[in-house]
């Protein structure tokens, strides 16, 4: 899966995606998925007013914040010794990246 995602990244034409597509920023990054239209099964006629359903990803973008929100699994992998060693080449003490 790692290799697949990196090859799809290679093929991205960023300028076209950013400047001449209608995709939202999230879609540009993750690739366009068919928007899962939530089943509007529940007909709650009890209430006269109803709140409009907001697509899931819009809720995620709710907070205008600058700090990168790390997901737990992204950080979890840094518990592994192998992972810690993999970036040694990025430090001055490390030999050429291998």
């Amino acid at each position: 899966a790692q290799a697949a995602s990196s090859t799809s990244r290679r093929q991205k034409d960023w300028m076209k995606l950013i400047y001449s597509s209608e995709l939202t920023p999230e879609e540009v990054l993750r690739g366009k998925e068919e928007n899962l239209t939530e089943a509007d099964g529940e007909d709650d006629d009890d209430e006269f007013f109803r709140f409009k359903k907001v697509p899931r990803n819009e809720v995620d973008a709710e907070v205008d914040c600058s700090k990168h929100a790390w997901k737990e699994e992204d950080l979890k992998q840094w518990e592994e010794d192998e992972m810690l060693e993999s970036i040694r080449g990025l430090f001055i003490t490390g030999t050429a990246a291998e």
């Binding site: 950013i18 939202t24 920023p25 990054l29 205008d64 840094w78 990025l90 001055i92 003490t93």
Partner: protein, 364 residues
Amino acid sequence: MAQAGLVQYSGHQHLRLRLVLSLLSGKAVRIDKIRSEDKNPGLRDFEISLLRLLEKITNGTIIEISVTGTAVLLKPGIISGGPLTHDCPLSRSIGYFLEPLVALAPFAKKPFQLTLRGITTDEHDLSVDLFRTVTLPHLQLFGISDGLELRIKKRGAPPAGGGEVQFLCPIVKQVKTLNFVEPGKIKRIRGVAHAVRVNPQFSNRMIEASRSVLNRYIPDIYLYSDVYKGEESGKSPGYALSLLAESTTSALHCSEAISQPGVAPEDIALQATRALLAEIDQGGCVDRQHQTLVLLMMVLGSEDVGRCRMGEPTPRTIQFLRDVRSFFGTSFKIVAAEPMDKECSHLLYSCYGVGYVNSNRTLA
């Protein structure tokens, strides 16, 4: 106002950067449908507070908010700067307000001497520690340096805050063109651990835990335990660890983690440390949190080609690139930094600067 100089948007997202672009470009901006479908429609208190702050730091700015609060029109005036004080609401930290100001302050009429009160560190925005150690050095890349300072007078942890910082920023006529394509290798790691209204030993425990991971890489690690006592430590208890890694070419990567109820200081430190490693792994000359600031300054740079190597754009950055084109007509050239290397996700961003001249300064 000519209708041609008006840029329109819908939705509350990306509000801060759009207001900044409006003030710098001189084009009015109208944003409607602000949470119009929400249970609680309209602008939030921190957004209103931000608009008030922008009104304070400028002269002649007209801000019109609709009765329901779901639409706002901003006609920019000149950025005046000077000595000012602003109380930030407790719903967002000082970082939320500082971020747009950092981009505006160099282009003011008078140097900024701004005092902000509120929460100094929270989970959404960069803490004042990172502003001081990472964001401000990014401005130095563009020739904004003499007298650039952020003083942390008092700390204020959420929820009650009580912190105070003073932001001093010099004014410039023009910003330099950036040419930053060598990420270099990490040569040193610095950090600030602070603990207020809790056992001061907590910051030492965080430092120790962080060192246990970082010591394997390089010897040049200095994590500072910043102690604030009494009045200076704000109204709520809390602690945090902010880390930064600097490369041989002065590329900066940063991370931080703040206290959560029921989590040991060691675990907070490990969160921050792992986030730093992930950020280093991401690489590039500029980290994700500072993409928009650097790209903005590149657009404003002198009429020459500015270049910078960074990782993939964040969603914020993508929207920002689109917004920049609406306000300044500038688009970036974005290509793979190393087309031969399939593993490398770095991109090279380049643009032709608009040659922005600080006209507020000459007006006096």
